[in-house]
């Protein structure tokens, strides 16, 4: 392809010149004429808009920076191009991209597994915060620790894959947890059932959440022998490409079917406390039309959400991550009132978490976290 001094046919030269001109000028025209997107569902972030030209911004080099960002964000066919890159890299043998492994499921479908790298020091810090919080309370405190899909996929990862064993971390937490907190690791319940997790998202499915809630309530003696949780009947399946897909959006990925149970998610009242919003359902159906379907549960994560279930039972405080969002429809069956606190957002509030707990007169605290979260998150300090 490099300089062949021998002359290429004239038609070939015309074709090549035309390709290039259409490519660069067409790209420019598409940027100029095309409608700018405000938000990328794929990347879950607002996109840069056309920058304002001013002498100051040019002089400081800010204009050029903003323009570069704008062009990069609004590039025509951006999502398809990123998919193309993902699949070329896959063809080059890169089964690990951007923090996720891509494996073939038993059904032949592409499944994304998030890489897990154990951070013992952070785990120790986080468990320590949970412990010292629990030890100051005189009500029962339970920790439900949910393994992520990687815990059950280690043997399915590509050759040479580096991924720590979450089951080891779960054991490690067991050694740190102390006596006050009742520890309910879920690695036995969900064991080897990768279908408890979405193919393309880092969350668990409603079935996974139900199995864990059932097991917890049984083991903790809150649900009697013959009793069962109401069956989950997911309806209105929608194609769902989750967060892990967005990290490496292969064109060969098949979507998950996202379903929800309108009846189980009904409540007397769900209150988004800081937002001053109330509803008779845990669902925010507007997300059914968006990419991030999992956010149908409560519309995502909020500092404080209170659910008045209308059922008899205890009042509980739930310290949680997003895994808890789909589990609430099951736990709600056994409690009268649930207050969910997300420490990523519950900062500098009027009441500390323990003050809130006594103010509400809670009978129990449930901590529900997934292993990745406990391994990485740095917001547990807000418990103090």
């Amino acid at each position: 392809m490099e300089d062949n001094e021998r002359k290429a046919p004239r038609a070939g030269n015309i074709i090549i010149a035309a390709i290039f001109i259409v490519f660069v000028i067409g790209g420019a025209a598409a940027l100029l004429i095309g409608k700018d997107r405000a938000f990328s569902e794929m990347e879950n972030r607002p996109l840069a808009q056309r920058p304002e030209l001013s002498f100051k911004s040019v002089k400081e080099g800010k204009y050029s920076e903003a323009l570069e960002e704008y062009i990069s964000d609004q590039l025509p066919f951006k999502d398809s191009l990123v998919s193309l890159k993902t699949d070329i890299d896959r063809a080059l043998g890169k089964s690990y991209q951007n923090g996720v492994y891509m494996i073939k499921d038993s059904s032949g479908k592409l499944r994304y597994i998030q890489k897990y790298s154990e951070d013992k020091a952070q785990i120790e810090v986080n468990v320590g915060k949970l412990r010292s919080f629990a030890e100051k309370l005189d009500i029962p405190v339970d920790l439900l620790l949910i393994p992520n899909a990687s815990a059950f996929a280690l043997d399915k990862l590509p050759a040479g894959a580096v991924c720590d064993d979450q089951k080891e971390s779960i054991k490690y937490v067991g050694g740190l947890i102390g006596n006050k907190i009742n520890y309910y690791p879920m690695d036995d319940v969900l064991s080897d059932k990768l279908d408890c997790y979405f193919l393309t998202d880092h969350h668990w499915t409603a079935e996974g959440a139900r199995a864990a809630a059932d097991d917890y309530l049984r083991r903790s003696g809150q649900m009697a022998e013959g009793e069962t949780l109401a069956a989950y009947s997911g309806a209105d399946p929608k194609d769902f490409y989750g967060t892990l897909y967005s990290k490496a959006p292969s064109g060969f990925a098949s979507p998950d079917k996202f379903t929800y149970d309108e009846k189980l998610c009904g409540a007397v009242e769900t209150e988004w406390v800081n937002e001053g919003k109330k509803s008779d359902s845990m669902l925010d159906r507007s997300f059914l039309e968006k990419k991030d379907k999992y956010a149908v549960y409560f519309g995502g994560n909020f500092a404080q959400i209170r659910i008045r279930t209308g059922n008899p039972g205890e009042r509980v405080l739930v310290l949680k991550d997003s895994y808890a969002n789909s589990a609430m429809q099951f736990l709600a069956q056994k409690y009268s009132e649930i207050t969910m606190i997300d420490l990523r957002y519950y900062h500098m509030q009027e009441l500390s978490v323990s003050e809130l707990c006594s103010e509400l007169g809670c009978d129990r605290v449930i901590m529900l976290y997934n292993m990745d979260f406990l391994n990485e998150d740095r917001n547990f300090v807000w418990l103090e």
């Binding site: 392809m1 490099e2 300089d3 062949n4 021998r6 002359k7 290429a8 046919p9 004239r10 038609a11 070939g12 030269n13 015309i14 074709i15 090549i16 010149a17 390709i19 290039f20 001109i21 490519f23 660069v24 000028i25 790209g27 420019a28 940027l31 040019v58 002089k59 400081e60 080099g61 050029s64 323009l67 570069e68 062009i71 990069s72 590039l75 951006k78 191009l81 990123v82 193309l84 890159k85 993902t86 070329i88 890299d89 063809a91 080059l92 043998g93 890169k94 089964s95 690990y96 590509p158 050759a159 040479g160 894959a161 580096v162």
Partner: protein, 471 residues
Amino acid sequence: MLFSSTTFLFLFLSLILVCYYIVPRFLKNAVLLVFSLIFYAWGEPVYVFVMLGSIVVAYLTGLLCDREKHKGKLPAVSLILAIVWNIGLLLFFKYTNFFIENANSIMGLNISPFKDLKLPIGISFYSFQTLSYVIDVYRGNVRSQRNFLDLATYVTLFPQLIAGPIVRYQTIEDQLRGRKESLEKFSRGVKRFAVGLGKKVILANNIGALFDDISKTPQSELSVAACWLGVIAFTFQIYFDFSGYSDMAIGLGKMFGFDFLENFNYPYISDSITDFWRRWHISLSTWFRDYVYIPLGGNRKGKVRQCINIMIVWFLTGFWHGASWNFMIWGVYFGIILLCEKLFLLKGLEKLPRAVRHIYALFFIVVGWGIFAFDDTSKLIQNFRNMFGLGGLPLFGGRNDLFWIANNWILIVILIIASLPLFKKLGEKLTVKIPALYGCLIEPVCVLMLLIVSTAYLASNSFNPFLYFRF
């Protein structure tokens, strides 16, 4: 601005192509100049004035050092002025902080370095270019350029401005006025540009990510094999990155009617280090040959003097690459090998089978990149200890070894093939055998695919470093 960016492709290039081809002949250089200044000012608007200063100095000293027109001392004084200006700029911007820091640590001084002194991008390239212009005028090899606009166009010409090749004035003296754009040249330029873009964005960045990964891995997770894999990854990265830039520069030049000289000629097929330096960054090594080595006396003043000259040239070549010890070591390292080859080694090598000569050359090239890759001296030493089994690492079986190989072996095979002149030979054969099919279908499809795939990599904002910010 980088060639390997969507801003360059879809904003800058589309605009300049349109403007350049619609204006009449007498305005074409002006269009190039204006766009080149914008191109340069893009990231650092202020340093454009440093470059303009250099152009003014080159213009004036160029006029005054013409020995046919001016008698007496004027030409020599102007020449010295040009040298002082260019070397002074380089010393000031590139090496001041290096000298201060080393003076501090060696002599225990406490001079504070200039914190805000950033290196103007491309300064090493354009300083060498303007300098060669003035020297060539003084030597009578070229006539001085009376048209300021044309000289400014030459110096700022964006295709070669920030990462070379070092285009000599004498190469394009006639082209500044009398060049002819043609469809044939344009399409050749497109092909060359697409190949260069692909080399940089698809190959170099991809393997560069592996080097980056390995060099960030903690010592406890490494192995001897992994350290070699890292340096080999860098070997590929620097070649495909740098020669990719040169390809893009040459290709862009052709789109505007210029013919630059080649800068790389399959360096990794060399069978000696002497051979390697005839194939690697040719515009730099010939610059040092013509403006340092030969003026120092070259090989005309006896063996001892020649050896000293070689060492001076290679010390400077190394130092030119950046104000850091490792670049100096790298230059001296090659100086020593070249000296050995010149004195006795080449004669011995000739008797060996070809395969052995290639292994010999590749070994010293890769080890050289091992020096070049680490500007942190303690990391450099650690890496060399690791590579040669002194770091207490296992031979193989680091935590990520298998993963790195599984994820990159296909890429490495492609890189090896692309380092050989196979595609070039294949292209030459096909142009003869099936000219219509090759020229009208295969080549256009390849170009289109390279452009689209490169854009896909750019679109995903993946690893895309600029390696020459220290040059």
